[in-house]
Symmetry: C2
Subunit: 317 residues, 2 copies
Amino acid sequence: MNEDERIATLARMFESVTARGVEVAIGDDAAVLSPGATGLTRAGRLVWTIDEQVEGTHFRRAYASWNDVGWRSYMAAASDVAAMGAEPWCALSSLVLPDDIDDQAFEAIASGQRDAAAEVVAPIVGGNLARGPVVSVTTTLLGGCDRPIERGGARAGHKLWLAGRVGLAAAGLRALEMGLESDARLVLGLEAWRRPRALIGASVAMAGSAHAAVDVSDGLARDAGHVALASGALLVLDGDLLVEDEDLCKAAEALGLSALDLALHGGEDYALLAASEVPIEGFRCIGEVREGSGLILRTREGERALEARGFDHFERP
Amino acid sequence: MNEDERIATLARMFESVTARGVEVAIGDDAAVLSPGATGLTRAGRLVWTIDEQVEGTHFRRAYASWNDVGWRSYMAAASDVAAMGAEPWCALSSLVLPDDIDDQAFEAIASGQRDAAAEVVAPIVGGNLARGPVVSVTTTLLGGCDRPIERGGARAGHKLWLAGRVGLAAAGLRALEMGLESDARLVLGLEAWRRPRALIGASVAMAGSAHAAVDVSDGLARDAGHVALASGALLVLDGDLLVEDEDLCKAAEALGLSALDLALHGGEDYALLAASEVPIEGFRCIGEVREGSGLILRTREGERALEARGFDHFERP
């Protein structure tokens, strides 16, 4: 397919997911949106994010199907919208494709994006296509909310609440890197890494009471560190509670790694971490906020300072 | 700089351009916008586009400074917003950077983006950073308008109007490819290719009367073909008027190429083509719309069918 044919294919595939307030979708210079028609933005607020997944950095061809690549990229962006307590509305996608991506692979990437958009109920209404040396999938998403939940609102006395699992996705990636994907103890990790889900339901649940929130994409410790820094507060993470996940412990055992290390420093979990005075439906308590700065890890053995370490694209070893 | 330090640098650099209605900019999971506060969307409409410029496809390091790379990428997206008759509001940027991009190159790319954002008066309010094998700069832009101008509104009897110049940017790129950049006749072409300008003023001017519009990014013939197809009409382009540009003719002479070919099939002009019954300030008439389909080129020698040929990312020779 040439460029126009590929654009026509995307228009056909993506139109199966619809949203209110979209007046012009794929096929013009830009999409046209009418935010007032959505019911999403009662208080008139939009949240807006962009995420890019690059072959060789975020995935390898041997590790995931092309459908997974499209799905993962969309969900990574949707998770950022969820982290603000907002409801996804619609998306644009920019695909970079090398010459060795045939039409079948192209359609598989697009179908993964469409499946994720259908799951999140936020269609892809436009985008861009270009040639490049490796596959890259960029997703920009708009969402609406009454009250955005920023990172800087955690205060002493709040509890820390977590929705979703941490550590399993990193175990899945490690299984792929180590060639251990046939080990039954790692199946859930592979699934977590290949098919992450933005926690839209949990996002809606926390919108009423959370004072601060972040999605866990670069590792719990690193993302909790962002909340601590933005809030000017100390976050205490309860290590014993983090490793109560039996599937995570089994996966860690299969890999010969520490379950706690995977939970704290793994990444690509797309869990949600929130600070709130009261319990949030679908979240479990994993710690608390205190006066101070930085992170503390609390276990039955005591408390110790925790480094806000996780995935950094430009860190030099 | 590590990732957090680079994000802090971007936040500092980009905050010098401000816009109304931006409640949360760089540093959280997503930007937070309040469209009602802008005055941009009197009729409540947003236009939204994304564009990606990839090293090796859209530019080479030897052809442009890093500042130019940032500038060009931003302007390509802004031109799509202008093509809808909309006013740019704010942008997100996603940067992919290889390991050999040092902090100085990184800051030069960002300063080019910031300079373009200042020119267009639409700040960068968030984004994403990732590592990858080549430099890629993605810009997604939101704009506001009362009445979006789509591609499909050209009707028999309208005249075709052009703002900006066509062919010069392609001449500049060709000069770089042929090692002719020291030829004085190609200086304006180099400038056109390296520092394109989204035609925001012309966009505002056409908003009142244009029935269809497109920005000329893939070559005039190809983009006019998109208008013809979307409108179900025949577009007649006046070749003699297109080559009345003396600078273009000199550049074509220096390259040993046809000025008309450069004007019709060059690309990266970021001119605006509009269909309107009445003259538009800042535009010149370059043809007309008739009943039918496809394109016709009219010169003093007569009329002939014109192929809607231009730049296609996935065309096989």
